[in-house]
Symmetry: none
Subunit: 204 residues, 4 copies
DNA sequence: TATGAATGAGAGTTCATTCAT
DNA sequence: CATGAATGAACTCTCATTCAT
């Protein structure tokens, strides 16, 4: 009834599992089981575990880039204040991660395993984002020293991503439903407040 | 001095590899090869892959706790300003991570894979740190809302850890030697500047 | 003219591949790919890999028998000299192999793998040829001892077939184009010379 | 009790099976079963199916070269007649094949599949033999035309090898025990007679 | 303290084949 | 006539682990 329903089920299972356990923590059998499909079908539809993983990575990276391309473009051209433009980019980033919480873990898995065969693939996909953001920040920030744009890139990433990766671990210790909408809103407010604090410090 | 030299070599290899590739990305053969030791010796000395991994995790967590216990105690008792006491804790945290850069990746691996059999072990080890830090912050910060202590715990972690996990990935794009001493100093300055910015915002 | 074009393409691909790599060295996918056809079509047209293989074998064996039946019949009835009749048969054999060079490899594959499920099939197809040739030779040669007809059957086969099976292997070391028409003519001359040498020795 | 008894059993099974069915006609399970050993042990001892196959090939090729090196050397230096020297080489070749009948099939398998990944390996191992024999023959024979040495190389190979590859196929049709010692002697006599016939024809 | 051999389970992958459309 | 999807068996190979020595 659905076009490609099976392939979609497999892809969804792969997405879920790879995000949660990383490439080497997942077997093709796990994926097939979760998709209620025979193992051989995974290979029929996707050729290999590698290709399937790449498909998952690519679709997230594409979505990530798509989500940030417009805000980044706006930030480069608009006449709004520096603060507003940074808010725009960080907000977009955070919104994307918030809507794709699993992706945060996928990224951390990838980055933490940053020497695997995938490293070049990751770099190729994330580097443009770093470049664009760095370019925007360069307008005001120096390109070296402790206020260099790249430090902000790292700090923003940590601030934005970590809530979503820590939630499954510390969620139990936090107010129930660390990923409920009210709590997510609270986190968004925190990040915005933090960005404001940084902007204040920069301006003065 | 020769005492336990073999076990130490195995442990060192395991440490290195687990940090870089995570539990499931490493085989006992990998460890034995890197330690220039026969595979069976790994089992002789450590019993199982699990126990070896736990040993690596435990020694890092112990060191982590040891590194922060004194600063946290001081922060609870000293009469220094809130800002100074936060600086004390974050500085200690950052120093420890800086001295154990690999550990940053180990933590991210663990947290990203936050559903594995190890989750309880991790929680048990990291929770006390969160609690202590939270307690210190509670003195000034509310326990809910976007300024809740736990948000700062997450943000601090992200800011402190991510530079070291991103370095192997983006290092090539950054000034040569992202992990050289001058660059590490630069990062420490950035983090301190950031904490100051946060304190400023809180105080006002 | 278009009639059966697809089935023919499959058959041609199967022919080529089976001759080059033998039964177990070829997969149905290989055949389908080389024929630019979907895998399922191979089964639609030929039922199974076995039947397809049998079809290839049979068509070669049929052609082989057809090519030799007349010369063998002539050899049995004509009043020409023994030497001329042997020349007639060997020439026909060699001409056939020369025109179906791939078949030489198919035969060697089959014979070398002479214990497979196909052994009876092969025997049934090649035995009549051996019998006929043996019959012709019996006229002059004994049926036992080192001049027994069957030894000549084996030797003729080796002399005739091996040039074509060795060509792909040693071709690079031989004058360019071991399978070019001039070189093939040279080989035919060699074989005829050899048969003459054998006849001389027999007669004397 | 025996050094390396297990590895030897595996090697013997691999030898037997590869000779009979060729590389792609044999699975590692087949080998393990025939050696009464668990599958994983084959990999423990030999690393991979490829390496095991290469070991079998290499040991035969080495033995082959060793068996012919002395006769070929003698043929190059001795003052015996051309005929005697050719007899010496062909006799040695035939004796070796006779003592390693399975090897004949291995060679035919390899040559028939002459395009596989092994082709270079085969060429590298058999080419020296062809060169040496060719060199001896060159003394009397031209290097082109239908009496070129390479034609005799091919013909000798066919005559020598084919009896042993055909035996399992046609053995049933031949006097019982085509591979019994008396029959083998008969074959040796045939080949010697054939070589004499060729020498006679060359000399005249 | 050390190790070579052994092993069952499971990894990713390909296979020939079937079937509904 | 043609095909995309599906499947169970078998493939090569790696895994963590055990054990006799």
């Amino acid at each position: 009834m659905k076009e490609g329903a099976t392939a979609d089920r497999i892809l969804a299972a792969a997405d879920d599992l790879f995000c949660r356990r990383g490439y080497s923590g997942v077997s093709v059998r796990d994926i097939a089981d979760q998709a209620s499909v025979r193992k051989a079908l995974v290979f029929y539809h996707f050729g290999s575990k590698d290709k399937l993983y790449e498909k998952v990575l690519t679709s997230y990276y594409d979505a990530h880039r798509a989500a940030l391309s417009e805000p980044l473009a706006t930030a480069s051209t608009s006449s709004a204040s520096f603060r507003e433009r940074v808010h725009g980019v960080v907000d977009s980033y955070l919104s994307f991660i918030d809507a794709n919480a699993r992706y945060a873990r996928l990224v951390q898995h990838e980055v933490a395993g940053g020497e695997s065969a995938w490293i070049d693939f990751i770099r190729a996909n994330l580097a443009p984002l770093q470049d664009s953001l760095t370019e925007v920040l360069h307008e005001v920030l120096p390109d070296r020293g402790h206020l260099a744009a790249r430090h902000f890139f790292v700090s923003f990433s940590g601030i934005v991503l970590n809530y979503y990766t820590y939630a499954p671990v510390f969620g139990a210790l936090w107010p129930e439903g660390a990923l409920s909408e009210p709590m997510r809103q609270e986190r968004r407010d925190h990040v915005r407040w933090l960005v404001d604090a940084m902007m204040d410090a920069i301006e003065e």
